[in-house]
């Protein structure tokens, strides 16, 4: 108990004090220097903590992982491309790779499609804020909690017994099912059941951003098209969609990266069984179950390579915006 009180004091007082103290102390030190050198040194003191964190926790480890991926299980000897040959030849990793592609395609498609649909529809109702909050709420909860929520939604009882899961119960009302979601023999059903959890969580994110973009489109433009006889579909295809395209692209890339990194839902619900493994979970398994650090690193590098193109896109987009500033 006493330990916990000390920890609480560090957490609430010690950490902020140390951070503020850093700037006050370094500023004191700088002012002891000759005037001319102050201006040259000062910025480095201000960015030093951030740079140190970025180097220690992102830059160095990523380079190190690349090196480890060419080494053996214990990171002792170089083994050339062995770990990559294993990656692209092992049925387990190929299955994980296939599922990650499913996640990227269908989670991104689902989130952007539904987010756009919701953004456009709620724009036309008076209870827009309430509707948006409802769609947005799942974003605040953890993947773990979402996994549990949907484990209950997907609950399965053999045919002929009362269904206690919401999904199978509703299916029963229209004379369908029951389906053993997640543990079905078909990998497509299992994966889609899991991917839908991701869609349910992230649609609010896409909706909020797309809705903000939508409000930026001039209403006169839309009204003019309608007066000219364009129907709602033509307005959408001809005006809204092209104008929203850059925003859709930004949302899409965020979701692609999220989908590639998806781990928690699978770890919590199936731990990769029933043909639902993905590359992020595969990496975890190689790291802790088989403890093959070479292979685990190779999996991480494959994930990184899949994401690198988005880094290039991000930087280019940033440069363009800077040019406009």
């Amino acid at each position: 108990m006493e330990d916990r009180l000390i920890t609480a004091a560090i957490v609430l007082l010690g950490v902020p004090a140390a951070l503020v103290g850093y700037i006050l102390v370094t500023e004191r030190l700088i002012q002891a220097l000759p005037e001319r050198r102050q201006g040259r040194l000062r910025p480095w003191f201000w960015i030093a903590p951030a740079l140190a964190f970025l180097i220690v926790f992102l830059i160095y480890p990523t380079i190190n992982t690349l090196v480890l991926s060419f080494q053996d299980k214990f990171s002792r000897n170089f083994v050339g491309l062995d770990n990559y040959i294993w990656f692209f030849g092992d049925p387990g990793t190929l299955e994980a790779l296939r599922n990650s592609v499913l996640w990227v395609v269908f989670m991104t498609g689902g989130v952007v499609g539904l987010g756009l649909l919701v953004a456009i529809l709620v724009d036309r109702v008076r209870y827009e804020p309430v509707a948006k909050t409802a769609i947005f709420v799942p974003l605040a909860i953890s993947f773990v909690a979402a996994a549990i929520i949907w484990q209950f939604m997907y609950q399965y009882r053999p045919p002929g017994t009362p269904q206690i899961g919401t999904v199978n119960s509703v299916l029963g009302l229209v004379g369908l099912g029951p389906v053993d979601w997640i543990r079905e023999r078909s990998f497509l059903v299992d994966n889609f059941a899991l991917i839908f959890i991701g869609v349910w969580m992230w649609t609010g994110f896409a909706m909020v951003i797309l809705s903000a973009g939508l409000k930026g489109i001039s209403t006169e433009l839309l009204e003019a098209a309608r007066v000219d006889g364009a129907n709602e579909w033509q307005v959408f295809r001809g005006i809204i969609l092209p104008l929203l395209m850059p925003t859709i692209f930004v949302v899409g890339t965020t979701i692609v990266i999220t989908a590639l990194k998806s781990f928690d839902i699978i770890y919590t619900l199936t731990n990769g069984a029933f043909g639902t493994d993905v590359i992020a979970r595969k990496m975890f398994a190689e790291m802790f179950t088989t403890q093959h650090f070479g292979r685990a690193s190779a999996v991480a590098i494959v994930l990184l390579l899949a994401i690198i193109p988005f880094m290039a896109v991000n930087i280019r987009r940033f440069r363009e915006q800077e040019a406009l500033r």
Binding site: L24, P61, L121, P138, I148, F205, G213
Partner: protein
């Protein structure tokens, strides 16, 4: 081009058609919107209702059946997970992990963002572009070396390990968002402060920080939710050896497999992990939305 240049009745029929279809369209619109709202809310509501039901009921019937009398609700599930599964301690751990993992990156990023926005130094732009590039690095590609570093420093398993790691992972977005905002503050304010003899530290604490409160709030909420909901970082850097330090996400995730048939406890466990982020989120939704749209649309 304009309506006047065309036969008037064409426009009129078009408008009439739009209104005629309008009534049916309005009904369909409300049905779809309310249907989607229900689809998005029902899963969470179902969990909440189930968490207050006795174990035998949860295993026997769907949550909706408990909404009809006779009502039979209980706090037994909450009592059990708080006392038997140590979720009370895990809740405190989550707080101990999340608060510094939010404060440190926000402050460190604010220092750096202030320098990027209002000071001049060589390679400034190159360094900032590199930070933009780091935004997308998947933390998976850092796990093994960082775990070895933390173990080598003797802090693997401690809260400190997770604070430092979350700071590293959260910084690129934090620096990026704050620098864009601070760069937009009025130049005259800082110039006149400098003429009045205020040093940069004073200008930072007295001017830059107070003027950036909206974006600091968005960022803090964002980071808070991210860390509170994180599973992977704590799972790996605290790990099974120091299970007394594990946050709720890891403890609850382990319950899913260890509880086996007693899944009714999961409902209460899951809801306890959701309670704080939901409260923060619903209370401060405005800032949260602004953070997302500011980071994505502008940035």
């Amino acid at each position: 081009m304009t309506a006047a240049s065309r036969p008037l009745d064409v426009t009129r029929t078009a408008v009439a058609k739009r209104q005629g279809r309008g009534r049916l369209g309005r009904v369909a619109l409300h049905v779809i919107v309310i249907g989607l709202m229900a689809l998005w809310l029902v899963p969470t509501l179902g969990l909440l209702v189930n968490s207050f039901r006795p174990a035998s009921d949860v295993a026997r019937s769907g949550w909706w059946e408990s909404l009809l009398p006779p009502w039979d609700f209980t706090l037994a599930n909450y009592e059990h997970v708080l006392t038997q599964n140590n979720l009370g301690d895990a809740f405190i751990n989550s707080l101990f992990i999340t608060i510094p993992s939010t404060v440190i990156p926000v402050m460190v990023a604010a220092f750096a963002a202030y320098a990027f926005a209002w000071m001049d130094f060589p390679y400034k732009n190159a360094i900032f572009v590199a930070i933009v590039g780091l935004l997308v690095i998947p933390l998976q590609s850092t796990l093994i070396p960082v775990l070895r570093l933390l173990a080598g420093a003797g802090i693997a398993g401690e809260y400190l390990a997770v604070w430092l790691a979350h700071t590293g992972y959260g910084l690129p977005f934090a620096v990026y968002l704050l620098r864009n905002y601070m760069g937009g503050l009025p130049r005259e304010v800082f110039e006149s402060a400098s003429i009045d003899g205020a040093n940069p530290a004073t200008a930072f604490f007295r001017l830059a920080l107070p003027m950036s409160v909206p974006v600091l709030a968005s960022l803090a909420i964002f980071q808070f939710l991210f860390v509170w909901n994180d599973l992977l970082v704590s799972l790996i850097y605290i790990g099974p050896t120091r299970s007394e330090n594990l946050p709720m996400t890891v403890v609850v995730s382990n319950l899913v497999s260890s509880l086996g048939g007693e899944t009714h406890f999961l409902t209460a466990a899951a809801f306890l992990t959701m309670a704080l982020p939901l409260a923060v989120f619903l209370g401060l939704q405005r800032y949260f939305v602004r953070g997302i749209t500011g980071g994505a649309v502008k940035g």
